[in-house]
Symmetry: none
Subunit: 234 residues, 2 copies
Amino acid sequence: MTVLDRAEARLLVVDDEPNIRELLSASLRRSGFEVITAADGREAVHFAERTRPDLVVLDVMLPDMDGFSVAGRLRDVNGQTPVLFLTARDATDDKVAGLRVADDYVTKPFSLEEVVARIRAVLRRTRGDLDIPARLQVGTLELDEEAHQVWVSGEPVRLSPTEFKLLHYFMVNTGRVLSKAQILDHVWNYDFGGDAGVVESYVSYLRRKVDVNEPRLIHTLRGVGYVLRPPRDD
Amino acid sequence: MTVLDRAEARLLVVDDEPNIRELLSASLRRSGFEVITAADGREAVHFAERTRPDLVVLDVMLPDMDGFSVAGRLRDVNGQTPVLFLTARDATDDKVAGLRVADDYVTKPFSLEEVVARIRAVLRRTRGDLDIPARLQVGTLELDEEAHQVWVSGEPVRLSPTEFKLLHYFMVNTGRVLSKAQILDHVWNYDFGGDAGVVESYVSYLRRKVDVNEPRLIHTLRGVGYVLRPPRDD
DNA sequence: TCGTTTTCTCAGCAAATGTTCAGCCTGGGC
DNA sequence: GCCCAGGCTGAACATTTGCTGAGAAAACGA
């Protein structure tokens, strides 16, 4: 993902499952964030005190204390740190009880695209962060993250959620080659079991809906992957 | 969720339950207010002296002193700070009598929409705050918050309380995508246990009553949520 | 109190979306 | 030019999502 000279923001990732923690922190670092991790609530509060993160990604279910208490403590310690909750898809009770205090939340299993998008959205809202653009543009292609809308040469285009996420991933990585495996890892949920064939299907859908004019923007690199290239430097 | 350059007003939120305090302060901040919190009467008076809030949201039942005494003290200290009381639904007579001291009150469990609306109304009344519009308009849709009335192409429409709150939430967030969870969290009481199905029902009711003309204003974004979009940029 | 309004749930239907796959196409090495 | 692995795409199928009408239950008002 985007590589920046300086970190966009400092994040604290809190989850007791090492897999998830690693998955998230690696991916978020690649997206340009500075990342600190914690495995439980106690650790989270401790690190938050010392490092003053700009945002906390917090699993609702932790071994020592539930996420809401942690969020409360964090806010006691560190003013109005925004919190993005991670929660199981069917955690109905939790939602009712506490998710409203969250600035946003993502259900497990999530896709990395989704988490990054939510983090950016929250930072944009809570800090009015203008370094994080809500609107992307490549050639005649425009994408508004907040309005969840896409235009081709000014004409609105309807995309399904997956199509939208895929296009967004391409646009954030304009000019960078993305392998099918990489795309699968970022755009699809981390528990997706299928093979890279889906990616081909969705690239096909996208081209039909979004890449209709010459010069083409989405290019195939045989044996390597795909690139979204702006016009003129093909 | 409106993002503002400056805070609309400074609020002091007083409640001994941490959950409620967090819920309110997170949500009010998201609505553009600057928020200070206090857990009991003593703290409330102390903070009010120092920070001079524009309005105090005050739970009637506090561990150290009852809300009315607190309100009295606040007024001794800080002129005529308006107060919005929070009270249990089954308020007995003495309480109701006391509530006449309040500029307004909201019963628990409340919906965030309701609290924000009341706060705005009180600020409008007591400060003549013109930054806070009482009338919203989107396309041929008009909503008067104060008169609690809605017109479609100039024709008045009868809405139930929930329908009204939902429409208001849509209109305040024109152009912004709202997920069903988000809608549930803001428009329904915080103790609502049901699922997002109700939202679908109420959107259906609303469309039938207020979104009868082309072009449609309320759009469904499958898998994402709903948007109220003004005509012409679909 | 009784009738009316409102809220909420639910199930059946329709439509959109996600996934797989087989057959065809194509670029590039030989 | 021939071949073939890799890529493309239409079709089929499964799954998910959203819409709506009907009705039970609760709240409200006279």
